[in-house]
Symmetry: C2
Subunit: 192 residues, 2 copies
Amino acid sequence: MQNKLFGFISKYISITEEEKNVLLSLNLFQSVKKGTILLKEGQHSKESYFVLKGCIRTYYIIDGEEKTTAFYTEMDVLTPHCVINQTPSDYFISCVEESILTITNTDMEAEVNSKFPKFEIMCRKLSEELLAKKQIDFDGFKTSSPEERYLNLLENRPDLIQRVPQHQLASYLGIKPQSLSRLRARILEKKS
Amino acid sequence: MQNKLFGFISKYISITEEEKNVLLSLNLFQSVKKGTILLKEGQHSKESYFVLKGCIRTYYIIDGEEKTTAFYTEMDVLTPHCVINQTPSDYFISCVEESILTITNTDMEAEVNSKFPKFEIMCRKLSEELLAKKQIDFDGFKTSSPEERYLNLLENRPDLIQRVPQHQLASYLGIKPQSLSRLRARILEKKS
């Protein structure tokens, strides 16, 4: 797991043995059981998550109903917006699978960044990249039909279709579970 | 306009007279006519935009039809994802109104950041904030009905409703222009 983390970091900056040791001393790795709720609506948090293994999801509860907005799997990073804006969270985060996460908090990040300014550069590059990714995802969602969204998912994140419950997947695609079933049947029919 | 820019920067970092002069020497301000296309699909770009006055929009052309995905008005920042990912743009950017923009490019940013490392901190904070904003917007879009999206717009960006053509607004809300007209009529009826 350490090598996965260091591999990820070295995509952005070079990292020395000393820096690696500082990071290791922070005890960043956590195993989290399936179903664990990492953040609840209304809570304050300073924590960001980097998924080394497994899957976590963000969801809202609106009129008693869960609305899944995102899944984060291997090598994905999530800094909830409540952490940036220092406001109570308006959503939940839970583990879809047993997961291994790197959990950092803003105090720790500030300390590491002031000690090793190049981590500031990494954080900037990473945030820019995540912003670009979010822009692409949002535009893709806005400009496509539910069927196109599903086909897009099949192409870009086929593993998700196997890994997450269908009602969560439907919600993530912005459709009802029955519509997802019909849509899948239609696509299978076209293929056959 | 200079004061607007420096006011914006000083939300993130303190800025000295020397640094202000360096920024001013870069000739960042540009007046852009209504209708000007700043970026075309397929083009490469290194440019980011900060709107001091006016409004720019991003849109895709899909099957010959324009799909508007975002509007950027006063104090909004746009770094197109093609700039971050160094890929050809998959959308267009045009000026909805006569605008005054600060246009920077990645080479210039790298130079300023290496000269004044605190600008790196500003870029990091700004990217994080934009990412949080994009998360909120995307989640809001995904979890609400077209009517809720319109009411949300009325509450948070009422100026947009006056400033941009209705067909662009409809597309931005992910609905057909006729649906937007019906929706507005329904809301007005409820209020009266």
